[in-house]
Symmetry: D2
Subunit: 162 residues, 4 copies
């Protein structure tokens, strides 16, 4: 089984600029994280964008959907900022019917040492291999159907809508 | 869904004794790792033993099987040293038929900072929720059926027997 | 020898707010860092403020000077943001003549895992025990006299003025 | 000021072999640690040996002394296992009279993430620039004269002999 990984940015890949004290994007840490996890699943990683998900437009989401539709792989992981992850998942679920797509992210940047990112990536890698066709969010060790998930803005936790 | 986690030791939980320079077991880091991963799946953690898997006897394995059989949960994760993980999985698969059991471990102790453990725990947590009844090993982002898996002693990698 | 440590904030002690994605101050990590370094020098730690040094006013600096003057200890370390550290050091050097005062900080928050803070704290702890009376900055493994030091804004490095 | 650093091994540079579960030496982490500390002091690093200090012989110590005597630099740091560090320091102090030599080490390997090594290296770097000629041990934020120091085997802490 081969898995396509699309990178879009989000907290996952943020870094600290020591001159300005601001957070910014440089390169993705996905390859380094897969090495650390000694992951031996065949993957093909593509960076589609590298942005904060609050800045993601529906044009960006169409681009993501297009790449999902055209990928040869049947199993796709998308790294994504958590703020609008549920919105992107919902749009994708309308367009991608015959593949398993798992969106995941992180609350703490991987570079900050105490990140949830590696745990989330491990769970996304497993969910994408085992869940039936559809679009899902993998966070907090759980998976959610794209049509029944929201991020609780107060707690930062993903939950079913009802 | 509630998940039972049985701890048996292994590299996962080894620590460095700074007075003797030896590795040893103290407390498990599982709760800390689940916190780090912001895992919100309901879990019940029990320590059955805290040993190097090279020292595990078949009496120990019977004890593990007994706990798996008697657990209320249908979904069980077992942390285990990698050296004899395949052997334990095979024995369990003969005794536990109606539950999903996932064994996982680590090549590098969690306390050593650059461990694969958090990634493996994330994938085990996902596999145990989605795989059908049976006994499995989750390592390197992959899952293996208990009756067709071995650890390659030269590379340290888990692989199918044939 | 007993050493007084005054905390004023700075990058040293910044944390990442996972709900807002902003950096903020909570508690100081100094005690944890001294534990990690297995530091056995007698210290007395006091938090005077917990701010970004760009927001520090000369009233704040007068307060720091007052505490330095009134401290029983002859050896004082001050943790401080790097942006205005040289300015504070210069003001202190005019008021504190009979003690050894060492200011130090970090370019990367300690909580981010790959911080220079622990190295800087180790060097500050050593310099404060061995340098003659005066006010100094300890950064990058070096020490600078308070009256001949500036932060190079482009490189982020402390250097002599001429 | 230029500083010579001699590496001899010790816990500082131990790594974990994930196939055997044993600790071993590969390359030194000193350059990486100095980068992490953003150290800008001019240094020249030489590896003399890479061994556990319990295996160090007096022939090894003569070699270290010879290198200290012949170095162009007046300021020398030696990384060394803690078990026989006091013994080596005493021998060096008989032979090296006109330079400042500071031995330091670590209780936890640097690669294990929660090491005291970076703190100790920061303090050694500062002590070697400021202490008068002589041979010293820098551990736990303190410095000790080579002729009045021992490692307390029960606590792992360096202390004056009386």
């Amino acid at each position: 089984m081969s898995i396509r990984i699309f990178l879009t940015g989000g907290t996952f890949d943020k870094e600290y600029n020591e001159l300005t004290g601001q957070l910014f994007f440089k390169d993705s840490h996905l390859p380094e994280m897969l090495d650390l996890g000694r992951c031996l699943v065949a993957v093909d990683i593509r960076t589609l964008m590298m942005i904060d998900s609050l800045e993601m437009t529906d044009i960006d989401r169409d681009l993501i959907a297009l790449h999902c539709a055209e990928a040869d792989e049947q199993h796709i992981i998308i790294t994504h900022g958590t703020d609008t992850m549920a919105h992107t998942a919902r749009l994708l679920s309308q367009k991608i019917k015959n593949k398993t797509v798992v969106l995941t992210g992180a609350m703490i940047p991987y570079k900050f040492g105490s990140s949830d990112g590696l745990f989330n990536l491990g769970s996304a890698m497993a969910f994408v291999q085992t869940l039936p066709q559809g679009v899902y969010i993998a966070m907090n060790g759980r998976f959610f159907d794209a049509n029944n998930v929201q991020k609780n803005k107060e707690t930062g936790v993903f939950e079913e809508v009802e």
